[in-house]
Amino acid sequence: MTRKPTKDMSRVTSQKKPVIVEEDDEAVAARALKAPIPRMEKNMKPSVILVGADKGGVGKTTVARALLDYLATNNIITRAFDTEYPRGTLHRFHPQETTIVDLQSTSDQMRILDTLNTAQVKVSVIDIRAGGLLLAMQALEDTGFLDAVAAGDFDFLIYHVLGPSIASLEEIDEIAPYVQDGQYYLVKNHVNDTTFFEWDPITHRRYFEKVETAGEITIPKLNEMAYEQVEIAATPFSTFVADRTAEGEPAGHSFVLRGYVRTWLHKIADEFDRVGLLTQLAPRSGTRQAKALK
C-alpha cells in the first residue's frame, strides 16, 4: 500500500504552519470521494451559520467547534465570530479563523454583516453567547439582514442547540418568527447525557412537532475524559485526533481518547452529511451530497 504525503487542511486553517502528513491510498480515495467544494467563486452566495442556545452549558460552543472541524475537513474555508465578548470561548480553540465580537455593538455588526459580500471567505459561523439567541435574531432583523435573507442575498442556517429543560424548548416558539426564511435546525446535544423528552411523547409532540424545521441534528455523547482532554489541549477536535499541539508539534495524547474523539467526529460528520450541509453552502449538481439527499 503506497503512502502519499498531503497537507492536512484542518490544521492549515487553525495553526501557524501546515503539517505534512502521510495518507495511504484508501484515505486519498476517501477524500476524493467527498468531492471537496472548490474555492468559492466571486459570485457565490455568502452563507451565515448561527449557532445559539437558550442557556449555557448545553454544548453550544462544542457544536460550533464540531461544525468548524467538519467544514475544514471538507475544504470549506470559513471565518467564525465568537460573541462571548470580551473573553471569547470558541476563539480559544480556533484562534486563526475566529474573531471575538460584541453582537450588540454597531461597529461589530458592521464588521460581520457588511463584509459578507466582500470577504473572500463566503461561509461565516457565528457562535452566539448563551442566552443571547433571541437578542441576536432581533439584532439581525434590525440591521436588515433577515430581509436580505428573504430577498435571497444570503443563505442563513440556524443551529438552535437545545437544553433538557422546558424553558429551552419554549425558546423554539420565541425564535420561530425570525427563522422563517432561513434553514432552522434543532440540535440535540447528547454530550452531557441529556435527554430531550423522548420518553414523554406528549411533551415531545408539543414542542418538537409543531415547529417547522429543516431538520434535527443529533450530537452524540463523547466520553467525558476525552472531552476534558480536548478542553485542556485547547485545539480543534481534529488537531487533537491528529495528536498535534496548536503549533503542530507532537502532543502525546492518549490514543484511546483520540480514538473516541475521532469516532465522535465521524458520527457528527454523518449527521451534517445527512442534512446536506455542504450542498446548502455550495449547491451544485452531481455532488455526493446531492446524491445522498435523493
Partner: protein, 253 residues
C-alpha cells in the same frame, strides 16, 4: 485449516510487518474454554525465550492469568476509561516487547466494542504492530458466530483458532466443528489429566522455569506428564513464530 505445527502453504492474511511489536489477544465469548491457559502458555513461551513480556488480565476480580505472573501482568477493568488508556495505549507503545491480553468472557463484548470505536486494529496496522487473535473454539453457536463476526469486521487480522481439548471437548466431530471456523492458524492444547492439571493451579509454578529445570520436589510422574503436555505446545508455537517471521520478511534483505 492451517495448523501452527504443520508445514504447507500459509492461508489467511499475510502480513508484511517488518518492525514494531506484537500483540496477542486471547479471547472467547464463552467462559471456561481455556483462554487464561493460552495466555499463560504464550507468556511462559516468551519467558522461555528470554524475552520481556507485558501481560493484561481483563478480569479485575479474579485475574486467573495475572496470578501466575505478579509484576508482569496487570489487571485492568475494560469498563474504566483510565484502564482502557492503560491497556490500549500500552499495546500500541513503542516498546517492542510482546504484549499478551487475556480477555475475560464477560468483558468480551465491551473489549471489542472499544477496539472498534477507537480504531485499535487500524492504528496498530499503521504503527506496524502485529495483532493476533487467539480465539477459543467450542461447540456453541455463539463461539462460531463470534469468530465469524471478528473475521468479518477485521479480515486482515490473523485469527488463530485454539482448541483446548481438555477445557472445550469437541468430541468425535471436532474436525468438522473446527472446519467451520475462519482461521489463519490453529493451536491445539492437549488434554491434561486431572491430577497433573491440579499442579497447574499452583500460582508459583512457572512453566518456563519448569522447562529449564523442573522443581526437584515435583513428582516424577507429574513431571513427565507436564513435559509431555508442554512439548507439542512449544513445538506449535515455535512453528507459528517462525512462520510469522518469514511472512514479515525478517529473513529477507
Amino acid at each position: 485449516m492451517q495448523s501452527l505445527g504443520c508445514g504447507g502453504a500459509a492461508i489467511g492474511p499475510v502480513t508484511h510487518m517488518t518492525s514494531g511489536g506484537r500483540v496477542y489477544i486471547c479471547c472467547s465469548p464463552d467462559r471456561r474454554v481455556g483462554v487464561s491457559t493460552t495466555a499463560r502458555l504464550l507468556t511462559d513461551y516468551r519467558l522461555l525465550k528470554g524475552e520481556r513480556v507485558a501481560g493484561f488480565d481483563t478480569d479485575p476480580h479474579e485475574p486467573s492469568y495475572g496470578v501466575h505472573f505478579p509484576g508482569l501482568v496487570k489487571a485492568v477493568n475494560t469498563a474504566d476509561i483510565r484502564d482502557q488508556i492503560s491497556l490500549f495505549d500500552t499495546l500500541l507503545g513503542e516498546d517492542s516487547a510482546p504484549k499478551i491480553v487475556d480477555v475475560w468472557s464477560r468483558a468480551y463484548g465491551r473489549f471489542f466494542e472499544t477496539v472498534r470505536e477507537i480504531g485499535f486494529f487500524e492504528e496498530a496496522r499503521d504503527r506496524k504492530v502485529m495483532t493476533i487473535l487467539f480465539y477459543h473454539a467450542n461447540t456453541t453457536e455463539s463461539a462460531l458466530n463470534g469468530a465469524r463476526e471478528l473475521h468479518r469486521s477485521w479480515p486482515e487480522i490473523r485469527l488463530v483458532i485454539v482448541h483446548n481439548e481438555g477445557a472445550a471437548q469437541l468430541g468425535a466431530k471436532a474436525r468438522d466443528i473446527l472446519a467451520h471456523y475462519p482461521a489463519g492458524g490453529k493451536l491445539v492444547i492437549p488434554e491434561l489429566h486431572a491430577p497433573v492439571n491440579k499442579t497447574l493451579e499452583d500460582a508459583s509454578l512457572s512453566l518456563a522455569n519448569f522447562l529449564h529445570a523442573p522443581p526437584p520436589s515435583m513428582s516424577i510422574v507429574v513431571r513427565a506428564a507436564l513435559k509431555a503436555w508442554l512439548t507439542p505446545i512449544v513445538t506449535q508455537l515455535n512453528s507459528f513464530e517462525l512462520r510469522l517471521a518469514m511472512e514479515s520478511g525478517l529473513f529477507s534483505n
